[in-house]
């Protein structure tokens, strides 16, 4: 990569940082410091604005660079990811968005605590939310470090460390100063940038093949080195039966995990009604669906125009497929067009990471302050202190994420993201669905279903080949691998549901009919919703 790319890319990074800092200052100029404002942005965003913000929260760098990279490397098997990530939104739309908007205030725990004994439920749901957020956050930080270092030419350790520190510091500023309002506007700006960049590249790929999809696919198969096999399943998940079952496990975690992600759930509180929440999900499904359709074109385009071998040579995980494609589409290395397009893609990827990181930090600081701190503090604390706690928590989470991000620099990012989804699907989704739909659900069932999903998910990963027992694992020297799958979802998700059911039927406490009536009426009608 020549110096021109770096200068231009750095310039665009700086413009984005300046614009987002301006937004943060602008929205925080006359803040009142209320919890409503900090966690939910005052609940006055329109469905379209929130739809863009949801899409911005969801389309992480793993989607933009990772999925198209996987398609460029493994062809059709990469496409299975985009399908899972999109179909997951039907769970959110049909079962979660409207009811959660009506029942909760700021966090997942609000929904469950509305029916149950407050303290144990808040501690359980808060713990699992923070766990999911931190896993996701570290994945994004590690991704940011390696990506930016790669895009800026060097893969030196210092560049990566400074990127991680810079991203962490910026997100603390966005979140603690601007709260949900600033975070939402940053997501919207980022979603527009990302869509614009993706549309441009997709149009260029299609123009290059004169709009002939068949020719694009043939060319991709030809330049991949796999021939026809490139276009059908099996290249990545074909081999052993463990690999195949692993893929089913991942597919299950992807489709059920989205509805349990804390930073997605907190987005439904930024709109005034359940109807607006539904319409924002419809917007986001439209945006996310068209985005993933375009990443498929970009992935096959990169295989066809750059070539699978060159993509793998530049980055074994395929993360640089889209930047390389941009360079070729702009006229090749050294040309003005190539330089500009490459820098634009780098800047969009950087914007993506910053925005997603800010969204997750906000959600986890809400869990810490609103659920954990409020439950664990001594009674009689000051009334207005919760937002102050949340701002401090954002800074604390920022520092923790920087530290973990620096420690985990050599970790496989995709596995962290898959793990975050598996934990969300095992610990958060069962308790959420039971609370909303099961008449007899009890406090004990709620607590059991959270821990019954959370603990197995994490234990199974510790005992999996990801951590030990194979040359590619975290500790290649040690071998305490017992569980054969890399993704725990296939086992831990049913365990979460089962634990909730067992906890409920063995509790012996009669379910509170009045509270169930209240939550059901609230969920369906919005009566009494904040």
């Amino acid at each position: 990569m020549s110096g021109h790319h770096q200068t231009l890319a750095l310039l665009l990074f700086s413009v984005f940082i300046a614009v987002t800092l301006a937004i943060t200052t602008w929205v925080s100029r006359n803040r009142h410091g209320s919890a409503e404002e900090f966690y939910a942005g005052g609940r006055l965003f329109s469905p379209m604005e929130n739809g863009f913000a949801i899409a911005g929260d969801y389309m992480s760098a793993a989607s933009f660079l990772g999925i198209s990279g996987l398609i460029a490397l493994f062809g059709y098997d990469g496409m299975l990811y985009s399908v899972g990530f999109l179909v997951a939104w039907l769970v959110v739309l049909l079962l979660v968005a409207e009811l959660v908007r009506n029942c909760g205030r700021f966090t997942l725990a609000d929904v469950v605590a509305a029916r149950m004994a407050e303290r144990p439920v808040r501690i359980a749901a808060g713990t699992s939310s923070v766990t999911v957020s931190v896993l996701y956050l570290v994945a994004q930080m590690v991704g940011a470090g390696s990506l930016v270092a790669l895009l800026l030419g060097g893969t030196s350790g210092a560049a990566r460390s400074w990127t991680v520190i810079g991203v962490g510091a910026l997100m603390v500023v966005y979140v603690s100063l601007g709260g949900m309002r600033a975070t939402t506007w940053i997501q919207i700006v980022k979603a527009v940038l990302l869509m614009a960049g993706t549309v441009t590249l997709t149009v260029l790929v299609l123009v290059h093949f004169h709009g002939n999809i068949n020719e694009l696919l043939h060319s991709a198969a030809g330049h991949s080195g796999y021939g026809k096999d490139f276009l059908s399943p099996g290249l990545r998940y074909g081999g052993s039966w463990t690999a195949r079952i692993d893929f089913i496990s991942l597919g299950l975690a992807l489709v059920l995990g989205t509805a349990g992600l804390p930073h997605i759930l907190s987005r439904f509180y930024t709109v005034p009604t359940a109807r607006a929440a539904r319409r924002s999900v419809v917007w986001s499904i439209g945006l996310i669906g068209s985005f993933y359709l375009m990443t498929i074109v970009l992935g096959f385009g990169a295989a066809a125009l750059v070539g699978t071998a060159d993509v793998r040579e530049s980055n074994p995980a395929g993360n640089t497929a889209v930047p390389l494609l941009a360079m070729v589409l702009g006229g090749g290395e050294g040309s003005t067009g190539g330089t500009i397009l490459f820098a634009v893609v780098a800047a969009v990827a950087f914007a993506t990471i910053l925005a997603v990181v800010a969204g997750i930090t906000l959600a986890s600081s809400a869990s810490v302050a609103h659920d954990l701190y409020a439950s664990l503090k001594r009674p009689g604390g000051k009334q207005h202190s919760e937002v102050a706690v949340a701002r401090v928590a954002a800074a604390g989470i920022g520092v923790a994420a920087i530290g973990l991000g620096l420690l985990a620099q050599d970790l496989n990012v995709a596995f962290l993201v898959g793990l975050a989804f598996a934990v969300a699907a095992s610990a958060n989704l069962p308790v959420l669905l039971y609370s909303l739909f099961w008449r007899n659900f009890t406090t004990r069932g709620a607590v059991w279903s959270v821990y019954g999903g959370l603990i197995p998910a994490i234990l199974l990963v510790l005992l999996s080949p990801v951590v030990s027992g194979s040359p590619a694992s975290l500790f290649p020297g040690a071998d305490f691998q017992v569980f054969p799958l890399e993704n725990p979802g296939l086992v831990s998700i049913p365990l979460g549901f089962l634990a909730g059911w067992i906890g409920t039927v063995t509790a012996g406490e009669p379910p509170d009919a009045a509270k169930h009536a209240e939550i059901e009426v609230r969920a369906m009608t919005g009566a009494g919703a904040v």
């Binding site: 999809i213 096999d229 059908s232 299950l252 109807r275 499904i285 009608t525």
Partner: protein, 147 residues
């Protein structure tokens, strides 16, 4: 504090005539709407939950959502399981370079978009008006009720 209530915008109610007059159940809750002394909020929520109007809203929601959820989960899992168990079937060509796997994958996108549209339409036409009426009704009843 709420400036324009999205429950009441024009597009929400403009299509109801198409649905036929019988499509929308009367959302009246049996019983007096005025707050009554001695009734706690819990009693009121129980009363609303038992009312025919509420049961109708809930029935309409569940009648759409339960089959739809089962259908798309089965379709998605069938897709994933087929991809790993029968790659030969998935590799069968359909037209040019496009094979069964491609068609199935794009089919997932298509069904997601279609189901999203169908759900949004169903909720708008069959549920929103009745739910909104119930909401005001309930809030009217709980006003002044002790908790």
């Amino acid at each position: 504090m709420r400036l324009d209530d999205p429950w009441d915008d024009a597009s929400a109610s403009g299509w109801e005539e198409l649905d036929g007059a019988g499509g929308l159940a009367p959302a009246r809750v049996p019983g007096p709407a005025a707050p009554r002394d001695g009734h706690s909020a819990a009693d009121i929520y129980l009363e609303v939950q038992r009312s025919e109007a509420f049961q109708e809203v809930r029935r309409r929601y569940r009648r759409f959502v339960v089959p739809a959820t089962v259908a798309f989960l089965v379709w998605y899992l069938a897709y994933v399981v087929t991809a790993v168990t029968a790659p030969g079937l998935m590799a069968r060509p359909v037209a040019g370079a496009v094979n069964v796997a491609m068609v199935a994958g794009l089919g997932q996108f298509l069904t997601t978009f279609l189901l999203t549209g169908a759900y949004a339409r169903h909720a708008r036409l069959r549920r929103d008006r009745a739910a909104l009426d119930l909401r005001w009704e309930t809030q009217e009843m709980t006003r002044g009720a002790g908790r």
